[in-house]
Each structure stands twice: as structure tokens, then as C-alpha cells.
């Protein structure tokens, strides 16, 4: 089959890649502007990071947004991941009508438009769960609910490929169910768990609709809410700086998680394929 080096398809693809990423790089460059322009490059400075009273470091509202976003994403990650992993294992091993129902139910938050989830949570917290303190707590509960589904999907995929052989072997050798789970299954799930942590963090950090519907004002604003609000206010490049800080944190987190996953794989922890060919 003949392969042209740079056919029209290759050109379209590389143009797409440029189109999808260069605007973001330009936005990052604008965050280093020394002046107030949000549309042109000016001489480089860190004015909008810490020198200016309206910079990310000095402006209270921007600081609050940054810490809120990180607190929200961190806690969501720490709660949604274990709950989701447990749910995936439970639903996978427990085969019955109820678990099938729960499996289908779990897919729904993924396909429901966020605005519907946002409205539903807004109504339920204002009409039924009125004792839950509005603001951060409700935002956290909202984030946990819709990110948990990703965890279940990721872990379930991994569980399907692992199978039950190893656990059964451990049980035959006298391990209790909990021991088999902790010492045999969980290590094998390592890469899936790290992938989940990564996806939950990135999804929570990126969320605008649910955070916004459950926000009660300035003290519960997040980075996406701040970026969104900049459309109406007279904005400065500090919004770009805020977005850039968030971007760097997200990419760093994703990078660390990817590195850990690679190490786990290399150590052979996450890969049961060698063993399964023996037991298969």
C-alpha cells in the first residue's frame, strides 16, 4: 500500500492540532503581559501573577477561587475514588438484578447534560436536604456524585480483564475474602486507581455548571466561575494568569499520575497477563 508522506489528510490533521492548541498557548503568553492588553503581546512580566494588586497572588477573590477549586478537587478525588472503586468491585462480583440495575443507573450521570444535574441538585438542596450547609459542602457532594461514575467505568474495565482467577487462588490457599481483596485484587487495580484519581481531579477542576448552580456567592466561587465572570467585568490578564496557574497544576497532576502508572506497570503490579496465561 502506498503511503504518501504528507497527503491532504495529514495536513488537515496537523492543522487541527495547531488550531486546538495554539490559542491556548497564546492565552498563556498574554498572562505574562506587562500591560493591560488581553488581545496583543506586550513585554514579559509577572505583573498579573504577583506584582499587581489585581494579580492572582494579591487579589482575594482570585485566591479564594484557586483554593476553592483545589480543595474541591482534592476532596472529591479522595472520596469519589475509594467509593467508586468499592462500588465497581461490588457490582462486578455481585451478580443479581439489583447490581444490574445499579450498573445501568451508574451510567446515567454520564449521559445526563450537566445543566440537568445542576438543576436537580439545586432543587434538592433547596427543597429537601435543607440542613446541608449550602455552598462548599453541596458543591463537594455534587462533584462526588458525577465523578464517581467515571471511577466505576475505569475500574470495571480493568476488573473485566483481570478476571477472578487470582482471587480464587488466594482463597484456595486460605486467604479470607478481605485478605484476597486487599493483597491480590487491589494491587492489580493500581493503574486503574491512578487513572481514576487523574480523571476525577481533572473533571472536578474543569467543572463549571454544577459548581455554579451550587455556589452561594463570592466565597464559593471556583476558577471556572471566575473565568466565566470575566466576560462581564472589565477583565485584565490576571484572568489569563489564573487560568494558566490552574492549567500548570492540572498538567503536573496528570503527569505525576501517568508516571506512577508507568512505574506500577513496569513493576508488573498492574499486569496479571503473565499469570493469567498459566491459570487460564
Amino acid at each position: 500500500m502506498k503511503q504518501r508522506r504528507f497527503g491532504p489528510l495529514a495536513i488537515v490533521t496537523w492543522l487541527y492540532v495547531l488550531w486546538s492548541l495554539v490559542p491556548v498557548l497564546i492565552a498563556v503568553r498574554i498572562s505574562f503581559n506587562s500591560g493591560k492588553s488581553r488581545s496583543a503581546f506586550q513585554s514579559t512580566s509577572f505583573r498579573w501573577y504577583w506584582d499587581d494588586p489585581a494579580s492572582v497572588w494579591q487579589d482575594d477573590a482570585l485566591q479564594t477561587a484557586l483554593t476553592n477549586t483545589l480543595k474541591l478537587a482534592g476532596l472529591t478525588m479522595l472520596i469519589a475514588t475509594p467509593v467508586g472503586v468499592a462500588m465497581a468491585i461490588g457490582l462486578q462480583r455481585w451478580r443479581g438484578r439489583v447490581s444490574r440495575g445499579a450498573n445501568n443507573l451508574m451510567l446515567l450521570p454520564l449521559v445526563t447534560p450537566e445543566i440537568v444535574v445542576g438543576v436537580a441538585l439545586f432543587l434538592v438542596f433547596s427543597q429537601i436536604y435543607t440542613s446541608v450547609p449550602r455552598g462548599f459542602t453541596t458543591q463537594l457532594l455534587g462533584h462526588i456524585t458525577f465523578t464517581m461514575s467515571y471511577v466505576v467505568i475505569i475500574v470495571r474495565g480493568r476488573l473485566m480483564s483481570i478476571g477472578t482467577h487470582f482471587e480464587e487462588a488466594a482463597r484456595d490457599l486460605g486467604a479470607t475474602r478481605t485478605q484476597a481483596l486487599r493483597m491480590v485484587l487491589l494491587p492489580q487495580l493500581g493503574p486503574a486507581i491512578f487513572a481514576s484519581l487523574m480523571v476525577v481531579f481533572a473533571t472536578s477542576v474543569d467543572d463549571f455548571v454544577i459548581s455554579s448552580f451550587l455556589s452561594t456567592g463570592a466565597s464559593t466561587e471556583t476558577v471556572p466561575i471566575k473565568i466565566y465572570a470575566s466576560a462581564r467585568a472589565a477583565a485584565t490578564p490576571s484572568v489569563n494568569a489564573l487560568a494558566t496557574v490552574m492549567l500548570v497544576i492540572t498538567l503536573a497532576a496528570v503527569g505525576v499520575a501517568a508516571l506512577v502508572m508507568r512505574l506500577l506497570r513496569r513493576a508488573g503490579v498492574g499486569d496479571g497477563s503473565g499469570l493469567s496465561s498459566m491459570t487460564g
Partner: protein, 316 residues
Amino acid sequence: MADATTAAVTGGDATAPGGHRSGTAFWAALASPGSLLLVALFVVPAYAILAVAFGGIDPILRTTVPAWNPLDWDLERFGDVVSRVFGGDLTRVFLRTGIFAGLALVGCFVIGYPVAYYVARKAGRNRGLLLGLLVLPFWISYLMRMLAWVNLLQTDGFINRILGWLHLGSGNRNWLDGDWPTVVFGLVYGYIPFFILPLYAALERLDGRLIEASRDLGASSASTFLRVTLPLSIPGLMAASVIILLPMCGDYYTNTYLTGGSPRTEMVGNQIEFFLRGSSQPQAGASLVIILMAFLTIAMAYYLASVARSQRESAS
């Protein structure tokens, strides 16, 4: 069907070779925190939408009184909203939402299909690199990607300057003034990564032998594409379309952010947000959500069915 029976006969843990008890209670306990969360924070809230939409209004305070008992449901005020959607003041907003989402989907297809096809089947050595670059936008905040275009589309921004150099247009057009092309462009830019990836996965799984067979039997590359590759990729194409259509139909931030909230580009999501947060009319907002969901249910059902099918296939 046959697969399901085989699975049932060979069994899961219940008849495992080791003969351990199935331990249903143990697995149920593991699944319960997540399941309870889902019920409390997804199922009950979904029901709350119905209760509010079909609820009443306090005669003195004028606040919404949700009807938790289905026997108390009052469809009258929901019916008012329905008639506003079908032939009333909200018709325009619904039509506009459908048209924007439809145009953006076409845009995603025109740009996204060649990209997904090239990376999945033709990229050769560059495939890993390209795949990484296709995934990169997932880690960049959606609103930051929109912010980037707000910067570029300013009156004195780069887009106008480039157009000025090329002598296209006046070079000082205000793109962020509430024009629909800007919104459709923003939707395409925002959602296309979510369209390309599932399509890539489908094209990558495609059996290359069928394509070779078509070429061997004398079909030109164009007719091979039109009569073999494209038809085979339709399930993946449909899944990718549904994945972006659902959120696009509920979007209200892309258009607001790119037009400064111009009423000329208002979508259903804007109305819902306005009813709930802008003007304290939760009953009308909840009703609109139900109507929107009725339109989207068909798309959602299709997606869930195809997920279930592929799970059965991979399980067997």
C-alpha cells in the same frame, strides 16, 4: 442472547471452582456507599425536578410548593410552559438550540472525521504522538479554551489583524457582539475533542482486512471509503455524535461567554438558568428541564443501548 445463557451456566463466583460461597452480602456491602450516594444525589434530585415542575404555588408567599406525592401532581402550570415551547415565546429558543447544536455537529464531523481517520489508520509512526496531542485538550479547562478565543476575537485581536493583513473584511469587526457564527464556532472548538476520540476508537477497531479485500476486488480508494469504511464506522459516528449533542443542547456558558450574554444567541440552557437563578421561577425551570430531557431521551437511549451492546461483546 446465547452469550448470556452461557455466562449464566458457567457462572460467576457462585459456582467458582474453589467452591467458595458467593458472598453476596459482602459484595453488596462494598457497592452500598456508592449506590446510596447515587440514590440520594441523583435519583432523588431527578424526582425533585418532577415534584417541582408538577407542584403548586403557595397562594400567599408565591413560592414553589413541590408535590412529592404523584397523586397531587398538577399538570396545569407545566402545560403552560409546554405551550410556550410549542408555538409560544420559547419556541425560538428551542429551535435556535437545535440549529446551533446541529450546525456544530456538522462542523465537528467535517473537521473531526478526517482527523480521527488519519490518526487511526494512516498516521503510522506518528500515531502515538498524535493521539497524545488529541487527548491534550481534555486536560485543559473548557473555559480556558473559550478564554483563549475571547482573547483572539477582540476587536484589536489577532484574528482581525490576520484578516486585515489578508485584506479580508474590514479588520475591525466585533466578533463577540452576539453573532451566531461565533457561537457555533465556539461550540465546535469546545466539543470537537470529545467527538474525535470515540470516533478514533471506532475507526481503529475497524477490521483492516475488509478494506484490503475491497481494494483487492478492484474498488478505488474513494469507493472503498464510501462503501466500506464509512458504513462500518457509522456506529462509532453515532456514539460520538450523541456524546457531544447531549451536553451541547444543555450548554449555556459557551454562547454567554462568547457574546457577553447577547439575547440573540440565547439557548434553552440560558432560559433554564434564568428561571432558576436569575428570577426564582423554579417551577418553570424544572418544566423546561423535563421538556429538554424529553427531546434528548431518544439520543440517550440510543447511547446506553450501544454501550450495553459493546459491553456484552467484550464480556463474551
